[in-house]
């Protein structure tokens, strides 16, 4: 043809050659170069790479990032005390050995997940069956995760992957147990409520009783003091009287008697039946009193 045609043709050829021999390996990927269907080389380093053109060599890519495998189904697992738990887990994994991975599994990552999840479930089954609910739930949670991870190590190696993390996501009882948990929770709360009320009532009563006791004590002590004071008063009064009356007991008696009479008979309601004959007072009334003593006394 001509010069330009050669140039163009040459360029086209170069392009064709370049597109069939050069390839880009992304940071997120590893490349596998096949030679007649056989794995020839695994390229871990990202960048622009070279291979032979198609009939001789082909290239395939695998995701090298960390993948997440979430538990696809929730089949209950029995614990040591024969309670069935539903355990949700997740596994973080990554392709480490692409050769092994492809040989075992092909290039499809989903395919591997479909094969891995029953294995993980079985591993959980083994570990959970040995333990109680409390163990799985709290005390040995980390241990369960570690042990499952250890169990998966061999399988992972044969798959050409690395298990980075195994986590228990949820641990729950199956639906029919859940109902009984609710009723138990309700009755527990009721018990707590009753206890709170009773405790409050008891404390209130205690405080009342204590108040009553204090009141009694206070009043009684006051009574005691009062009686003591009164007694002191009485004693002092008695002493005074004794001192004063003691100078002439006979007269004192007479004098006090008269006072007492006055104090005793002072109401109109008091009725005295008198026999004037025996009374000194009526001596004059009877006419036998000659002495003018009575009128003289009346002043």
């Amino acid at each position: 043809m001509n010069r330009l045609g050669f140039i163009i043709g040459g360029l086209l050829l170069v392009l064709l050659l370049a597109s069939s021999t050069l390839f880009i390996v992304d940071q997120r990927q590893v490349a596998v170069v096949y030679e007649f269907g056989q794995i020839k080389e695994v390229i871990q380093e990202p960048g622009l790479k070279f291979k032979l053109p198609p009939p001789f060599q082909n290239v395939g890519f695998l995701d090298r990032r960390i993948q997440t495998l979430d538990s696809p189904e929730t089949r209950p697992i029995f614990t040591a005390e024969k309670k069935s738990l539903v355990i949700d887990w997740l596994v973080k994994w990554r392709v480490t050995d692409p050769r092994q991975f492809i040989r075992n599994n092909g290039v499809d990552i989903r395919n591997l997940e479909a094969r891995l999840s029953p294995i993980v479930h079985a591993a959980f089954n083994e570990e959970v069956t040995k333990r109680t609910v409390g163990g799985v739930l709290s005390t040995q949670r980390d241990k369960v995760m570690q042990d499952v991870r250890a169990r998966l190590a061999d399988d992972a190696k044969s798959f050409g992957i690395e298990i980075l993390d195994v986590r228990i996501k949820r641990v729950d009882f199956v639906a029919n147990i859940t109902e009984s948990i609710y009723s138990r929770m309700a009755s527990e709360r009721k018990q707590v409520a009753n206890q709170l009320r009773a405790t409050g009532g008891a404390e209130g009563e205690k405080i009342r009783a204590d108040a009553d006791r204090q009141r009694e004590v206070i009043v009684a002590e006051a009574y005691r003091d009062a009686q003591k004071l009164k007694g002191e008063g009485d004693a002092k009064a008695s002493a005074i009287f004794a001192e004063s009356f003691g100078r002439d007991p006979q007269f004192a008696q007479f004098y006090r008697s008269l006072d007492a009479y006055r104090a005793s008979f002072r109401n109109k309601g008091d009725l005295i039946v008198i026999d004037p004959s025996g009374s000194e007072f009526f001596k004059a009334l009877r006419g036998s009193g000659l002495q003018p003593a009575a009128p003289a006394a009346r002043k």
Partner: protein, 445 residues
């Protein structure tokens, strides 16, 4: 923008190569545009018109084709003319082809230069504030660019991906969806004491490392949700329900931050957890009434206690008051009794002094005085015992009644009634009401 030296060396020879490639591409396009025209000439004018319509491609390609035609004229001879012109456009087309090969070359270079510039310009990109761009060279991580106007080598050498770094992102954890196998809501979980509790929270996070975020994990943001779900259940699974609900409520958020961060760091996600907002921690709806009743019970208990305290604080001061009263009264009694005793004894002492001077007279006088006082105020019945006093039948109760009626029936009206009351007896009944009145008169004086 700094480039690694190796890259610069690599890029320099690549540039002319790329220019050549684009020129070739342009040529190819021109050749394609020519094809229908050629067919049109072979099959007739109608088709040529049709073909002409199909030639309405980009003008610069046509131009390019024409330039190349000019160069090829010598080789192809008369036949080398473009079909368009060959079909009757020759008279005008001929002179157009006259310009020299040199000017055509200049034009081609100009066009190639513009294309090169446009191509280089496609490497310019803008990184907004708060974003970072990760530049990859043939898929391999090259560097991370911060905010500003940046340039990278154009396709196919370098590419960039921009991600928001400082912007806060958030994920909500704990939804209402019910899981079939457990009959529990997404937000429900078991506590250590095998109770069920609902927790909802949001996780706020941002990126620290754009490179790790892009290249290490397949779904880094999903990883946040999964880590959060796993973390919250682990924390709650290790706590008792009361501590989750009441005591440790505030600690949960910080525990969550720590646990989620730990998991994410292990996966090198390039994400940092900024905050966890616990929106609600509550018992499931099925048992909420019982929980509320417990709260109420706490208050009831408190109330009962308070009532007790109220009683105590009312009762004790009252008792203290009573006690004080008792003491004061006693004090008063004591003073009174002593004073009375003193007074009485003083009075007695004075009397005694007089009495000792004239015992008999004083004694009689005192006696009579006292008797007078007594008899003057009381109701009295006099009986002469010498006249068969044993037969006396006094209506004592009636007399008492009368006396109790007060001093009203005094005077002559009362006297007969009293006398009539004792007709059966032969004794003398002397009702001393008159004298009583006299006594009162005397007292009145």
């Amino acid at each position: 923008m700094t480039l690694p030296p190796s890259f610069a060396a690599e890029a320099a020879p690549a540039r002319p190569w790329a220019a050549l490639a684009s020129a070739a591409r342009a040529l190819l396009a021109g050749a394609w545009a020519r094809l229908p025209g050629r067919r049109g000439r072979d099959n007739g004018a109608a088709m040529a018109q049709n073909g002409g319509g199909g030639r309405d491609g980009p003008p610069d390609l046509d131009e390019l084709w024409r330039d190349f035609n000019k160069k090829l004229t010598g080789l192809f001879g008369g036949k080398g003319g473009p079909p368009r012109r060959g079909n009757g456009g020759d008279p005008e087309g001929g002179p157009n082809f006259q310009p020299s090969m040199r000017s055509a070359g200049v034009g081609a270079a100009l066009i190639a230069g513009v294309i090169l510039l446009v191509w280089l310009g496609s490497g310019i990109f803008v990184v907004q504030e708060g974003q970072q761009a990760v530049v990859t060279q043939f898929g391999r991580y090259s560097h991370t660019a911060d905010a500003g106007l940046k340039w990278r080598f154009p396709y196919p050498f370098q590419a960039n991906e921009t991600v928001s770094v400082t912007q806060l992102r958030s994920k909500e954890v704990g939804r209402n969806a019910v899981t079939q196998a457990t009959g529990l809501k997404d937000s429900s979980m078991l506590t250590e004491d095998e109770n069920i509790i609902d927790i909802r929270f949001t996780v706020q996070y941002r990126l620290t490392d754009a490179r790790a975020f892009l290249f290490e994990n397949r779904e880094p943001e999903e990883a946040v949700t999964l880590a959060a779900e796993s973390a919250v259940r682990e924390i709650v699974g290790k706590s008792k329900i009361d501590s989750v609900l009441y005591e440790q409520r505030d600690a949960i958020a910080s525990d969550l931050v720590r646990s989620i961060q730990e998991q994410l760091d292990r996966l090198k996600t390039g994400i940092v957890i900024v905050n966890v907002n616990v929106q609600s921690v509550q018992p499931p709806e099925q048992v909420q009434a019982a929980f509320e009743d417990t709260l109420k019970a706490g208050q009831d208990g408190d109330r009962l206690k308070k009532e007790g305290l109220a009683y105590a604080s009312a009762e004790i001061p009252k008792a203290q008051g009573t006690a004080a009263r008792l003491r004061q009264e006693a004090e008063g009694y004591k003073s009174r009794i002593v004073s009375e005793a003193e007074g009485d004894s003083e009075r007695f002492a004075r009397q005694l002094a007089e009495y000792q001077k004239a015992p008999q007279v004083t004694r009689d006088r005192l006696y009579i005085n006292a008797m007078r006082d007594v008899y003057s105020s009381v109701t009295k019945v006099m009986i002469d015992s010498r006249n068969g006093a044993s037969l006396l039948n006094l209506p004592l109760d009636r007399l008492l009644q009368q006396a109790a009626a007060g001093p009203a029936p005094s005077g002559p009206a009362a006297a007969p009634a009293t006398v009539e009351a004792t007709p059966a007896s032969s004794g003398t009944v002397d009702v001393r009401s008159r004298e009583a009145q006299r006594g009162r008169d005397r007292e009145g004086r």
